[in-house]
């Protein structure tokens, strides 16, 4: 019961490092909500209505959320689905730049033709609702300073009527805001990519149909990477960052279960002795 916690830190570190260096390849399976989001995006016609990806996360949660954002971008770019990239807070903009830099060259995706990187505009709620009126009036230019009126992709995209799906990749409660403010008012379909901490509370939103699908944590990202690879949407040799971490994830979870069992046995033994 009085074990120094630094021994546990060391055990956790070993359980993560060894599977990363020597992968085992433990099997994974796709959960229904990840499959639902994949199927929804897969059915969107190419060069038609856009997918609006709201990058609602910053570097602190990038290990979980950046892989899923990149996987969705790969899916959209392969299928020639127009993508609008949006960041609602200043620190989220760098994540969009990172994701696009890592993915666009593999598909020859061009700004203004295949995707539009929207700049930061303050006022989270106001931005969400203003997009419903007119995207061009809300932002004016893209992140690179080019007028939205001059971009070929924006010729047919005016507001949510021209958006097939909003995907909120978030570490906070912003997916709920998307569903409540935008899904309710404009009847746009909402998909979610979220950290594992928040995933548990979104199952009720999936059950009501307010979200069409959900990627939960690193596992959700790994599942989506596997799905796009199995469908042939990725180049050979594309690094599956999330899938690589699943062996380590499994090892640490087993360690946690063993430690909890040992802790409970020690606790009940101690209770018996003190009585």
């Amino acid at each position: 019961m009085n074990i120094d916690r630094r021994w546990i830190y060391l055990l956790v570190g070993i359980c993560v490092i060894i599977p990363l260096i020597r992968p085992i390849g433990l099997p994974t399976f796709t959960t229904p909500y990840t499959q639902a989001l994949f199927d929804y995006i897969d059915k969107i016609p190419s060069d038609g209505p856009a997918v609006l990806i709201s990058f609602d996360f910053d570097p602190s949660t990038a290990p979980e959320l950046l892989p899923m954002a990149q996987a969705i971008l790969r899916h959209c770019f392969f299928k020639d689905i127009n993508v609008l990239c949006l960041g609602l807070y200043p620190t989220y903009i760098g994540m969009i730049d990172m994701a696009l830099s890592n993915v666009k060259d593999d598909y020859g995706a061009k700004s203004g033709e295949d995707f539009v990187f929207l700049p930061y505009v303050p006022g989270v709620t106001a931005v969400m609702l203003s997009i419903g009126e007119d995207i061009k009036r809300t932002f004016g230019r893209d992140y690179y300073g080019v007028s939205l009126d001059s971009l070929p992709m924006m010729r047919h995209i005016r507001n949510y009527d021209d958006v097939a799906l909003v995907v909120s990749i978030s570490a906070s409660a912003l997916p709920q805001s998307w569903a409540v403010l935008v899904g309710t008012s404009y009847h746009v379909k909402i998909g979610v990519g979220t950290t594992a901490v928040s995933a548990a509370e979104y199952y009720s939103w999936l059950q009501t149909g307010q979200f069409v699908g959900m990627l939960g944590g690193l596992k959700g990202a790994a599942e989506y990477e596997d799905l796009i690879e199995a469908s042939g949407y990725t180049k050979k040799g594309t690094r599956k960052i999330a899938a690589m971490g699943m062996d380590a994830q499994s090892f640490v979870h087993i360690l946690m279960i063993v430690l909890i069992i040992i802790g409970n046995i020690a606790y009940f033994n101690l209770s018996k002795k003190t009585r």
Partner: protein
């Protein structure tokens, strides 16, 4: 091994932060203070270039749209909190934000948070569902009712009410357990991400 000095600096800062696991030390403090300073500086820079210049300076100075002065003044009132004699001015921007946010959010929140979820619970148990899903939904509806009754304090939790509330407690404990498990997964994922950076981007040990 990486030859990029910024990758080496990022690896150094990562190890400084991890050093806290041993004990608090000057390296950790340095990394923590640097992070806070850079975050604030970055945010100010983004706000200046993407918010102040295109939304305030250019409309007023370049385009002579002087009506923009009104919302600018309202925003400046927020800084009145730092001056005791005029600190009452902050009530105006607060009132505007509160009023507009309530007007936008309340009706939509009723539909999104309450009515939709009530509808989902009521229609969860319906004929025609596959047997496994039907049993699962019945368990879910029992959980909703018993958990709500646990938080109903106008009746004493004795007798039948006590037993029902007890069932609600079990559901709450199960939910906490699921949430804890997910939280462990999230924190481990962040550790995996950092170690992937150290082993792949910095040391080049893994592909």
């Amino acid at each position: 091994m990486s030859s990029n000095p910024w990758v080496w600096f990022a690896a150094f800062l990562t190890l400084c932060t991890f050093s806290f696991l041993w004990r608090d030390n000057p390296f950790y403090k340095f990394a923590e203070h640097l992070f806070v300073g850079v975050s604030v500086g970055y945010t100010i820079s983004i706000l200046y270039h993407n918010s102040f210049m295109p939304r305030v300076w250019e409309p007023i100075v370049t385009n002579h749209q002087y009506y923009v002065l009104l919302p600018t003044l309202l925003g400046l009132f927020a800084f009145a909190i730092f001056f005791k004699k005029i600190s009452w001015l902050i009530r105006y921007p607060i009132a505007f934000i509160m009023g507009s946010t309530c007007g936008i959010s309340i009706p939509r929140s009723f539909e999104g948070y309450i009515f939709k979820h009530m509808q989902g619970t009521i229609t969860a148990v319906s004929p025609g569902l596959p047997p496994f899903l039907l049993i699962s939904n019945i368990i879910m509806v029992i959980g909703v009712i018993t958990t709500l009754l646990y938080f109903y304090f106008s009746l004493e939790h004795k007798g039948v009410m006590g037993k029902v509330a007890n069932v609600g407690i079990w559901y709450i404990m199960l939910a906490f357990g699921a949430s804890f498990g997910y939280t462990v997964m999230a924190r481990v994922s962040l550790l995996i991400g950092r170690l992937q950076f150290l082993l792949h981007d910095w040391l080049g040990v893994i592909k």
